[in-house]
Symmetry: C2
Subunit: 227 residues, 2 copies
C-alpha cells in the first residue's frame, strides 16, 4: 500500500475533524460488508450505510489517498485495511477502566469494543466491595494499583465510568500515570490534563436529538389544516 | 417567549442537522452553568464549554430566534429554558428499554438520562431468568408484554440494548407497537421501520477517534528529526 502521507519527515496533511469523526461510520459499514462477503462497494452504497452523502464519502477517503475505481467502486477488504490503518487499529489498543459500576461492567463486556480492536485489559474501583469481583476475564483491582497497572501493561487509553463528582480527579490521575487518551462516560464535562486527549461521551445527547425530531414531527401533524 | 416559528400554519424553518446535533452540547453546558449559579454566559464561554467556536454558537442559536445582548451575553436561565423547549424537553419523555443485560441495566440506572428529561419507564427481556428482577425502581417484564406496556404508558422512545442479532427484529416490533423513535445501542446498524426515527449509537467510535489522534501524535514524535 502506498503511504499517502509521503516519506518520513513530510508533514502529514491536516485531516478535518469532521472527516475523522466519520471514519468510524465507514469502518463499521465495512466490517458489516466484509462479514456479508461483499467484495466491492460503491461510494453510494457506503454513503447510505454510513448515513452521509456519496460526495462526502469520496472526499473523506481522498484525504487518505484512496480512490475507488469508476464503475466498480472500492475493494472492501483493501478499504477496510486502509481505514484500520488510518485509525491506528492494526494492533489492539489496551484500555484501563476506572469505575466498575453498572456502566463500567457493561463497557468491560461490550462486544462492540473487542470487535473494533479495543481491549479493556484492566479495571479498578475505589469501592472495596467491588475489588476482587470478576467481570468476564477481568478481576477488579483497587484504584491504588492504577499507576502500576498502566505502566506494566503499557496502557494508552483510560475509560472513566465513575460518578460525575469523581471524574475530573480520576482524569488527572490517569494523566499522571501516563495514559495518553481518555474517554469519559461520566455525565459531566471534564478538562483534559496536559498532553492528554479527552473525549466526553454524552449518552443523553442522542435521546435529545430524537426528542427534537419527534417534537417537530408531532407539531407538524398538529399544524396540518383540518379537512 | 416569542414563538420563533411564527403563527400556526407557518412552515417551520429547516434547522441544519449539524445544529441539532450541537443543541445537546449547549444544553449540557447550560445545566452546568445553572448549577454553578451563573446568571449570564458569553457566546465565547459557551463555545468553549461545548467545544465549538463562538461564531457557530451565535449562528446556531439564531435559528431559534435567540440573540445574546452585546457586552452581556446570554441569560443562562432563559437560554436553558429555550433550549429545553427547542429540544422538546419541557415534559419528561418515557422510554422502554429492550434487553436488560449489563448495558441495559446500566442505561436504566444512568443518572445522566433522568437529569436531562428522559425516564426509562419500562424494561423487557426475552430471558426468563431476567424477567422479574428489580433494577432501581423497575421490575423487568417479559418481552411479550412490550406492546401492552408501550400503549398503556404512551411510551414514545424505545432503547435497544439486546445482542446485535436480535436488534432489527426488536426495532420492527417497537415500530408495530407505536414507538416513534428508537435509540439502538446494540453494536450493529439497524434499518428504521416505517415512520420511526432510528439513531444508532456507536460506543466504539469514540475510542477509534482517540486512537486516530494518538497514532498521529506518536508518529509525529517518531518523525521528528533527531538532534
Amino acid at each position: 500500500m502506498n503511504d499517502p502521507q509521503g516519506p518520513p519527515g513530510t508533514p502529514r496533511p491536516q485531516i478535518p475533524e469532521a472527516t475523522v469523526g466519520r471514519l468510524p461510520l465507514y469502518h463499521r459499514a465495512l466490517i458489516s460488508l466484509h462479514q456479508g462477503r461483499n467484495n466491492t462497494v460503491s461510494s453510494e452504497q457506503l454513503a447510505e450505510m454510513a448515513g452521509v452523502n456519496a460526495a462526502k464519502v469520496r472526499k473523506d477517503l481522498s484525504y487518505f489517498g484512496t480512490y475507488g475505481t469508476r464503475g466498480v467502486g472500492y475493494d472492501v477488504e483493501a478499504l477496510l485495511g486502509e481505514i484500520r490503518s488510518d485509525l491506528g487499529l492494526t494492533t489492539e489498543w489496551k484500555c484501563v477502566l476506572v469505575g466498575a459500576g453498572n456502566l463500567g461492567t457493561a463497557l468491560i463486556s461490550f462486544a462492540g469494543f473487542r470487535e473494533r480492536g479495543f481491549h479493556v485489559a484492566a479495571a479498578v474501583d475505589v469501592d472495596p466491595e467491588k475489588v476482587g469481583t470478576r467481570i468476564g476475564d477481568l478481576v477488579v483491582a483497587p484504584q491504588s494499583s492504577l499507576e502500576a497497572m498502566v505502566r506494566e501493561q503499557d496502557i494508552a487509553i483510560g475509560i472513566i465510568s465513575t460518578i460525575p463528582a469523581a471524574a475530573q480527579e480520576v482524569a488527572d490521575e490517569l494523566g499522571r500515570c501516563g495514559v495518553r487518551s481518555i474517554l469519559n462516560f461520566a455525565p459531566t464535562v471534564i478538562e483534559a490534563p496536559e498532553g492528554v486527549l479527552v473525549r466526553n461521551v454524552d449518552l443523553a445527547s442522542e435521546l435529545e436529538i430524537l426528542a427534537f425530531h419527534d417534537q417537530r414531527r408531532s407539531s407538524a401533524r398538529d399544524r396540518r389544516p383540518a379537512v
